[in-house]
């Protein structure tokens, strides 16, 4: 029972991380969005699995919210933006794909290294997935650094949040629901504000290429 639970968790977390890594070799905003969508869906599935095996009913709600927010609402909004800025679909990252993958691999390894004490401390069957969650956090940071479009940066940021959510689910079966709801609200609000700014950037700069945002210096 426990072994099935932990295998499912590792499988889920691996999938979540892999969807993160897929981003690195795919080009085009559409691919980014779908990778993020699938990642969110898997994440909510992991939450449901943990809820079932861990016997924690709050987590069903968390899973549902995740699915609704990150699996449906946000991808829709993202797609709408993507259609709006259709002319800028081509991506041109700072770092090429091969290097990106190498760096990400190293980051995941680093994630393993620093989560050693966590894994050692925890008694939960879900603990084996924690290094993967940490790896995703680091990889998402790398995505945000190395991608040029404002839209892709937002996707990277959302993945970072997925990583942290995964960490919470696996490490502690989720933080208290009331807090979690507040976090979801914040995520939604933050995303909406970012969306507003992306439109503003597009209006004032006539492009969403972040590279142009360099008039404020020193």
């Amino acid at each position: 029972m426990d072994s099935l639970f932990s295998q499912l968790c590792v499988l889920g977390s691996s999938l979540v991380l892999i969807f993160g890594l897929i981003l690195l070799w795919r080009r085009g905003v559409t691919a980014y969005i779908s990778a993020f969508t699938w990642q969110s869906i898997v994440l909510s599935a992991v939450a449901v699995v943990v809820a079932y095996f861990g016997n924690d009913h709050e987590l069903y709600w968390v899973g549902a919210c995740l699915l609704l927010l990150k699996g449906l609402v946000i991808p829709r909004l993202l797609k709408r933006m993507e259609r709006r800025f259709a002319a800028e679909r081509e991506l041109d990252p700072y770092v090429n794909t091969a290097t990106s993958l190498v760096v990400s691999g190293l980051l995941v390894l680093f994630g393993y290294a620093i989560t050693r004490p966590l894994v050692a401390l925890s008694q939960l069957p879900t603990r084996a997935g924690m290094p993967l969650a940490m790896g995703l956090v680091l990889v998402s940071l790398f995505v945000v650094i190395s991608r040029k479009k404002a839209l892709t940066q937002v996707v990277g940021f959302l993945m970072l949040e997925n990583g942290l959510a995964l960490l919470a689910v696996l490490g502690t079966y989720g933080i208290p629901l009331i807090v979690e709801l507040g976090v979801f609200l914040d995520v939604l609000m933050g995303f909406l504000v970012m969306q507003i700014f992306i439109y503003q950037i597009h209006e004032t700069f006539e492009s969403i290429d972040v590279e142009q945002l360099n008039r404020l210096r020193h």
């Binding site: 700072y94 680093f110 290294a113 620093i114 050693r116 004490p117 680091l138 940071l141 790398f142 945000v144 650094i145 190395s146 040029k148 940066q153 972040v210 590279e211 945002l213 360099n214 008039r215 404020l216 210096r217 020193h218």
Partner: protein
């Protein structure tokens, strides 16, 4: 004791009233109130110092309102002596300021000037009375800030703002050193009281560090080379009475602080401390006078002379500390006394000279000596006062400058008592440098007085010059009187200075006995000098010679004629010797130091090259030492700043990279932290 507290209260109250009056009242009334309350406050300080020193009182005052450490005052001998210095110069300056600042009416902020003048006087006295570090530092910064504000008075003249910036920069760097120094000294004692510092057990390394920091911090304020660069910038642009106060008193706070720390709080130290002070003093003295010689700006010239005289003071103190480290207490005390004596003397004559220069500036509107001349006939009183000051600073007997330099010489001559010849040999070198300095100073003041006041005016402004108003004359006269009195009465001053050192750990005043007769006698090295008899003799002779001439029947006719000009009739100012020409021989002699740039272009007559149509000669002196010591580090700082600026390059990705790298670094540290 009651009188002392009364005077202290009067002093504090008068300046507080002065600040308020300056901010509220306007016009002549305002100036009068500022000057009046400043005068009362300064006189109260003078009285307080004299009472405490005379009766050997040590009043203390403490209040808890100041956070962290409380506010604490304690007036021991050293404080009392400096109170006298502050009071003397302060009184003269406030009176003078009444007339001098009249010209500012409507042009510059008299409110700020008046308020800051009173703040300055107050902060000076609080500083020398302070008994814990925070009180001291608070007063120290108030002093710096108020002088800074006053230097900026004529902010619309070119160079003023820059000069003020240099001043505050160097003085603040010094302040940083002082903060570190005091906190090192207090060794974790939170009250930072001086009493605790005296008894603190410090490692030799900490003591040495504290000493070096003190030398840097106080040296920056005193204007010791190479930290002197702000002096020739800030003193000239400040209103002249403020310059007098700065040069006369403010820079002396460096001397006070250094003495307080070295001989009181640290209770003396190894020989190299004294040696370092001595070396710094010697270099400052010589550099100061050499650059003064090349100056044509009267106030800049005086400012460089402040560097010189601070150097002389440091020579005395440094020698004293050296002797102290060898256990030669008598000589040590003598050295410190000579330094203190020169301190009060310099306060008087430099104050006087700056006030005189201020009167000249007031009358002619220029500080450039090459445009002056003939002022002795137009402003005879100012000329007389300036002459007294010039004689005093040139150490001519029987004025006060001579008395203290004589003591410094005597201290150094005692250097033979140092058991190690290789150390002792420093003393004759210092003697030689000091002698050269005083000779050059005399030459410089022949130039300063001669070119400014004598012969015929070199410009229309100088021709139209007028005598200074009465209040300014009174200010100058009082300091001139002080110069004469201090010169004539070393037998009173020196025992008083000895008393001012009572109770300080680093020196033992009881070991020095000065005969109360009219002669000043130095024990140990055995030299004798009697200033009053000397003065009396000179006066008698000067009176007797004309009488004798009359008796002997010398011719008494006198005819006024033209100056001889090789047969050429009609002398013009262009034929006069200039300040530049006067200093030319010395510039050649010290060309290695000055490294002047020369630019000579001659237009020959087209017919023959033996006829010259015009000659243009330009020569400038840039203090290369300052370049070396300041330009390079400033350049380095600028480069570092440019590099740091590049971090904020505008790229969001770069910013996120910083964040991530910091994150990874700290994670690594945390993961493997032990």
């Amino acid at each position: 004791m009651a009188l002392a507290y009364l005077l202290l209260t009067l002093h504090l109250a008068a300046h507080a009233i002065g600040v308020t009056a300056a901010l509220v009242a306007r016009g002549a009334v305002g100036r009068g109130l500022v000057a009046g309350s400043g005068l009362v406050g300064a006189l109260a300080a003078l009285g307080l110092g004299s009472v405490c020193l005379g009766a050997g009182l040590v009043p203390t005052l403490s209040a808890t309102f100041l956070p962290l450490t409380g506010f604490a005052l304690r007036i021991d001998g050293l404080s009392a002596f400096f109170l006298i210095v502050i009071g003397m110069v302060g009184a003269a300056v406030t009176v003078y300021g009444f007339g001098y600042s009249a010209a500012y009416e409507g042009r510059y902020s008299l409110r700020l000037l008046g308020a800051m003048l009173n703040v300055l006087l107050l902060s000076l006295s609080v500083q020398v009375m302070a008994d814990n570090a925070l009180t001291f530092l608070l007063a120290w910064e108030a002093m710096s800030l108020s002088t800074y504000a006053m230097v900026l008075t004529e902010h619309d003249r070119p160079g003023t703002v820059r000069a003020a910036h240099w001043y505050i920069a160097i003085t603040h760097a010094g302040f940083a050193a002082l903060v570190a120094m005091f906190l090192l000294l207090s060794a974790g004692e939170l009250t930072t009281s001086f009493a605790a510092m005296r008894s603190a057990a410090l490692t030799p390394g900490a003591r040495d560090a504290a000493f070096v920091l003190a030398l840097v911090g106080f040296g920056a304020k005193a204007g010791i080379a190479p930290l002197h660069v702000w002096l020739p910038m800030a003193h000239p642009v400040a209103p002249s009475h403020v310059s007098a106060l700065m040069s006369g008193v403010v820079i002396k706070m460096g001397v006070y602080g250094l003495l307080r720390v070295t001989i009181d709080l640290l209770v003396g130290g190894p020989a190299w401390w004294g040696g370092l002070i001595l070396a710094a003093g010697t270099i400052s003295a010589l550099l100061g006078v050499l650059y003064a010689l090349m100056e044509h700006d009267l106030k800049r010239l005086l400012a460089y002379h402040s560097v010189e005289n601070i150097g002389i003071i440091f020579i005395g103190i440094g020698a004293g500390l050296m002797f102290q480290s060898y256990g030669l207490t008598t000589l040590a005390t003598l050295g410190v006394i000579s330094g203190l004596y020169h301190t009060i003397n310099h306060a008087c004559f430099k104050g006087l000279l700056f006030l005189g220069a201020g009167s000249v500036l007031h009358a002619t509107g220029t500080r450039n000596m090459e445009e002056m001349g003939g002022l002795i006939k137009r402003m005879p009183r100012t000329a007389l006062f300036f002459l007294i000051g010039a004689c005093a600073i040139s150490a001519l007997p029987p004025l006060n400058g001579f008395a203290s330099e004589w003591l410094v010489f005597q201290t150094l001559l005692g250097g033979s008592a140092i058991p190690q010849p290789e150390v002792a040999v420093i003393m004759p070198i210092a003697v030689a440098m000091l002698a050269l300095t005083s000779g050059l100073a005399a030459a410089c003041f022949v130039k300063a007085f001669g070119i400014t006041f004598l012969a015929i005016p070199r410009s229309r402004e100088a021709e139209r010059a007028h005598e200074a108003p009465r209040s300014m004359q009174i200010g100058m006269a009082s300091l001139a009187l002080a110069c004469v009195a201090l010169g004539l009465a070393p037998f009173v001053v020196v025992p008083a200075l000895g008393a001012s050192l009572a109770g300080l750990g680093g020196v033992a005043p009881s070991a020095v006995a000065f005969t109360p007769a009219l002669s000043l006698r130095v024990p140990g090295t055995s030299g004798q000098m009697s200033a009053p008899l000397l003065a009396l003799g000179l006066l008698l002779l000067m009176g007797l010679v004309p009488v004798a001439l009359w008796i002997l029947g010398a011719d008494r006719r006198l005819r006024v004629g033209d100056t001889w000009g090789c047969g050429r009739i009609g002398q013009t100012p262009r034929m006069e010797y200039t300040a530049t020409a006067f200093a030319e021989p010395l510039r050649r002699v010290f060309a290695e130091l000055y490294r002047p740039t020369r630019d000579l272009s001659i237009d020959f007559h087209p017919e023959s090259k033996y006829f010259v149509q015009s000659i243009e000669y330009r020569s400038e002196i840039h203090p290369w030492l300052e370049r070396l010591l300041y330009d390079r580090p400033l350049h380095g700082l600028h480069r570092a700043a440019t590099w740091v600026r590049r971090l904020q390059g505008g790229s969001l990705h770069l910013y996120l990279l910083y964040l991530t790298l910091a994150f990874l670094a700290l994670l690594t540290a945390a993961r493997w932290w032990r």
